[in-house]
Symmetry: C2
Subunit: 118 residues, 2 copies
């Protein structure tokens, strides 16, 4: 078993994003089937449209954002649950007065990320 607090876990800048960091809360070294990560996006930041080869199961912890998934655009806040299928183009734009924070769970499978036109 393991116990950590999110505030103690190092955050890495996400190179493809703006004002965006990622923390691996439980990685493939520990969880046999899937990884739990937290993303934090500063207001005005986010990520451009991209695809992943793995699905995302997400839970919004704090803040507000607009997310584009395929042809749809959604507004999210704390308590929203988002499923993004593998291969679906998606982007994030954080707004409001506080950081946009969400958990994102992915399977322990090879993930190829490709930036696509927006």
């Amino acid at each position: 078993m393991s116990l950590k607090h999110v505030d103690e876990i190092p955050a890495q800048a996400v190179q493809a994003g703006t004002g965006t960091t990622r923390q691996v809360l439980i990685g493939p070294d520990e969880g046999p089937n899937f990884a739990l990560r937290r993303f934090v996006m500063q207001p005005g930041g986010g990520m451009p449209a991209h695809t992943n080869t793995v699905e995302h199961e997400q839970y919004v912890l704090r803040g507000q954002a607009t997310i584009g998934i395929g042809e749809e655009t959604i507004q999210v806040r704390a308590g929203h649950v988002v499923f993004i299928p593998a291969g679906a183009p998606h982007w994030y734009h954080a707004h409001g007065n506080e950081p946009f924070e969400f958990l994102c769970v992915v399977p322990n499978k090879e993930d190829r990320i490709e930036i696509v036109g927006r």
Copy 2:
């Protein structure tokens, strides 16, 4: 893709627990590899010691609890990240003045639950 808010998702009482409900935020019908659930335990409630045949990756959203895992006892609050390996006996006791809420991710594999002596 899908978008839901946690407040709109039905909650079921957990029969083996006390003052404990479970919501399936993203189930096996939607997520191909793992399921995202939220548990809410009222202060004084929780679950007796039990084992699962699948691992748990958990993130505490709100409240406070004592969790026993194997021979260890831990205190958790918002932002704590807990990994419980498959087969490890564990129990929960919620306390404090507000509900204890946490996300719990499990793989889409058969889960046999067994209550064990505490």
